[in-house]
Symmetry: D2
Subunit: 359 residues, 4 copies
């Protein structure tokens, strides 16, 4: 069971609301004796943090992580790591005007219908603020993976589609991704993306995005068929991120258009296994093949927009709504570190699972 817990052996549980005193996570199943510091985790937090450019919400949060347990003299002890992040910029008054209306595309309606109660302050638990905890847990996972797999292991994500704007994936450069506010891997696309997103924002609208995450240095053998296939767990992980509506592994949905000949051929190249393509995204039969793991996902456009829209209120009456709060014109941008975090957690979990069953 896993309402607010993710993972099988390496497991984290998140808690907290957008406008409560704090949010946090408890990370369980960590291997012992691994050095971990708040400083290292903070680096990942800072990638997701809002208010860093004009293209993300202006909510001001330092997102400072505070480790409350699980370490002794700077090393993991095998006991749960509890991390707390205090909410600093909570302007609940922003939400007074919409507290009785259901924002289209938001979970206001379904939460209220399911639970019979609605925490309207910033979306409460349904807020993307929860994802800060995932980034913290993912940072821990990444540190452990680097220790276990060595320096050849790496994980990096980028935005490859910003609304209607694509980029040239052949120009993907890891080093470019952090140099622009869009996590765009293709230097040449940045300018046009900037112009595009400014226009979207100015119109009071929003746009969707596609994010691609790549993990290299992943050993062959991770993934536990039939119902814990690596791609199955990755898709659950990515689909659990707010506003995600589609997940691809390798060629993904485009696999439909491939022919049988496009299944990745295998070669021995100077004693090493070498695949001639990677349409499978590094996963065969639910098990990692040693190729790069490649997963992508689509984030729908931000629901809270300035445009006046039709909806109903708590009493079921027709009404209109426009949301004046502080929101991202494209929430997909900030999903990059979240996707990296979720993939890191899945990979570590399966590393440990594989160690359990196969030694």
């Amino acid at each position: 069971m896993s309402f607010n817990t993710f993972g099988k052996i390496f497991r984290f549980t998140t808690w907290g609301e957008s406008h409560g005193p704090a949010i946090g996570c408890v990370i369980d199943g960590c291997p012992p004796n691994i050095p971990i510091s708040e400083k290292e985790i903070q680096k990942d937090m800072d990638k997701r943090r809002p208010g860093q450019s004009k293209f993300t919400t202006q909510r001001k949060e330092s997102d400072k992580v505070n480790i409350l347990s699980g370490l002794f003299q700077g090393k993991t002890t095998g006991t749960p790591i509890s991390i707390i992040i205090h909410n600093e910029d909570k302007r609940s008054r922003d939400y007074e005007t919409i507290k009785n209306k259901f924002r289209p595309g938001h979970a206001d309606f379904t939460y209220f219908k399911k639970y019979g109660i609605r925490d309207f302050r910033g979306g409460g638990r349904q807020s993307a603020r929860e994802t800060a905890c995932r980034v913290a847990a993912g940072a821990v996972a990444k540190i452990i993976l680097k220790k276990l797999l060595g320096p050849k292991f790496n994980i990096i994500g980028a935005v490859t589609q910003l609304g209607l704007m694509s980029c040239d994936k052949d120009n993907w450069k890891n080093s470019e991704i952090r140099k622009n506010p869009f996590f765009c891997p293709d230097k040449k696309s940045v300018k046009s993306w900037e112009k595009y997103l400014l226009a979207v924002r100015k119109s009071g609208s929003s746009c969707g995005a596609i994010i691609e995450i790549r993990a290299s240095g992943v050993p062959v053998g991770l993934g536990a068929p039939i119902y814990s296939k690596l791609d199955s767990d990755i898709s659950a992980a990515l689909m659990s991120i707010n506003a995600v509506k589609g997940v691809n592994i390798g060629a993904g949905m485009n696999s439909a258009f491939l022919s049988g000949e496009e299944n990745d051929e295998i070669r021995n190249k100077s004693g090493k296994v070498n695949f001639k393509s990677n349409n499978a995204g590094g996963i065969l039969g639910g098990i990692s093949s040693g190729q790069n793991i490649v997963a992508s996902f689509a984030v729908k456009p931000t629901s809270s927009i300035l445009t006046n829209r039709e909806t109903i209120n708590k009493a079921g009456k027709n009404t209109k709504i426009s949301v004046k709060g502080r929101h991202d014109p494209c929430v997909g941008i900030r999903a990059v570190p979240i996707g990296e975090a979720m993939l890191s957690c899945v990979l570590l979990d399966h590393y440990l699972l594989n160690r359990a069953q196969c030694g």
Copy 2:
């Protein structure tokens, strides 16, 4: 943990290999006092069964289900339902020639690397034969859902893309789907699809497909955020099906191209909640909204093809392979009832979960 078990409260465990004596499943967590019969389950089995047209594998299996436990006087008792399906047409000799080679696109390589042992007879556990068990479990779920939700509940899937051939989804007619060997919902597309697939088969190749599953009559409130979101569990369920590489909920990957205004608006229409569109696929914040649940997934082209392809053998040496066995030119076709089954299981599971937490 769930290597071979799917679900949280309504759970099924599958077992068995392609060429062993039998395959089967154990279904746990069934509500008691619900009439279930082998005959009803068999109907769903017959949709998936191979050898029904020239477009599916010629392996001859009656796929007759045999219920060994869990019923008393024709009704569920709340105890596990064990179903066994005997394998009838096992020609292990077909696989002798390829037993030391890894078929590209297949899980031969990864299973062998992970477990250090390979059941080469028809792919062993990695074979799509396992999905017969899912269909049996899904049939049980569907019967229970119909009892719990009443006749307005329905679930139906179709192939909407057959390799390079699309269909007109505006012409979708449930009644057409079973009338052609492709599960095509658009009568007008059937002829061209037939021509296309015959050509694919003749060339010794294969093609992929996209399958769409629709569930109507699903109540609002199913789905348990954050890490058991309904769309998250559906994507895990569908991605666990053999050869699936992409999953969409509603607009899915195309959400990236939408604008904020395309989030589904809500209206009160004669006292009933009415959404003006369904880009969210019936799920908001991981919780069902009462709209139709719409999920689609892509199946990659069959890996076992006649074309000669490059690969390595168990010794790591370069070699070539072509597979002469009895295979489907498009495995995606037979994925329709499997997708229906998996969605049924997820929905029932969440119905029970919601009943647990919310009464």
Copy 3:
């Protein structure tokens, strides 16, 4: 999987070390719309709190609970309730002298051997301080159970054996239990127990105890055979408490001495089901019968005593140890509210589970 998580649907995860900045728990799966307050939880915390009499450790902890999430306007929202308790009285220096030795009966040795690292400050995670979190979670469970089951539901525990001193269970009065520092239900035994425990403490030794927990007003039907039997889950719950080594349901170990005729006969008494005895402790076939649930457990004597004892150190060398810290002469006494808490959690969990499967 559940290293630091307890429960199936109503689940809590605890974190924190004896001498870290804080301890806490995250409670998931709460039904929504139930009023809960820190004040109500605090009442239960105060029963377990150390330093309340000369018979418990003199560590000074106010054990003030602080709810960080999961409530909106005083009611549960169905999202996780995060509770934090700050550690106030951490004198790490007390442990300097023993940090390289393994205390007999303690988990020092096994934690070090398992994890290769030892948080020697007050036992770190192995400390009974963790049980404060269980009491907080149990208080939440109890509040919910009272709401769901009505005022007839009650749960109360007592010490029925203090070392070599028994009490007369026929004199059990709920109202007496809180009136003495031993949670003794039999007024007449209090004086002799006091004299006995003073002698134990004076000698620098410690003693064990037996605690019995009784729950009334539990409906028939809770418990999910075969591997989630109510008694099975209760015994796991109680055995997970620090220093517990035996668990009885009803007649428990004494069942061996009963004859077949002593299986509880059933009568209809003025239209109500009435059992003539309760040797089964209210559970038949793993399912509650509607009788009182009666569970008892034994707590071994405190390991940390003044007496000089033989042990080895981290280097494996023979040495001696005596522990001068602040410890309870009988840790069993403070186990009463913990046992109540664990039983409350199991009962609520099974109430929800039963609601899931049986409606």
Copy 4:
């Protein structure tokens, strides 16, 4: 969740009713490449099998195990092992006379109240026949443990208390246990036990028993605090066996009577860790210490006896019942191999869990 599934990584699911066509289990999470045969499993089955002496039920079952999956060329493949055991001697007519009455001490009443339906044929799912599946799963676990831990690992159980008759545990000889029909480890007690049990049987009554299981050669470090403590999982495992009402680890309930000085002291003896006693039953803080694991449990007297007893019927009316079927005068006797099986499963599960987290 685990209605009919036991374990975390090494997991088995059982299914089947006393009088259905068959019973069986599906064993998941097996390490690959371990030789397993039906013949080896059968040896353990034969220990539990009924009808082997006049002191056990005369139901005739060969309990022949049939492996349907999970092996290839005699070795585990890491996929689920499905085992089926056909029911041979099902005399449903025996139960006709009692089908509307609730047997005191049996689960008839609670199953009916919970599920609203009752499979009265031999108790249906509640029958101890289910335990045959546990023995099969335990046999697999034992084979794997022996492979992983080497020949020093051993697990053996015995009856140490037969109703009012004790034995001298100082005379415990493993080699004696299988030489008498009581699994009595003390040769000198056998005769008096035989006389006693004959008298019990003749009187139409039944008696309880205590079974003790000992595992040697268990490495230090198994067990995952806080909520998967080794003793916690063992107690859940043993308490899940039919008719078990009490579980002790080491000194168990008698821990209450120990003094602090009786916590097991530790010595270095020629370079090896050596405990001076084993009151903790080989488990400290929920983690194995390297000492023998010692667990015992009490089985209540058989409920189905010849004596006429008071009960109610399905209509709630008062009535009387005496059960004429084929029953054991002491079901505890046949619980010995079941206890061994359950302990084997827990130990293997924790071996794998420990390998996951600690490498």
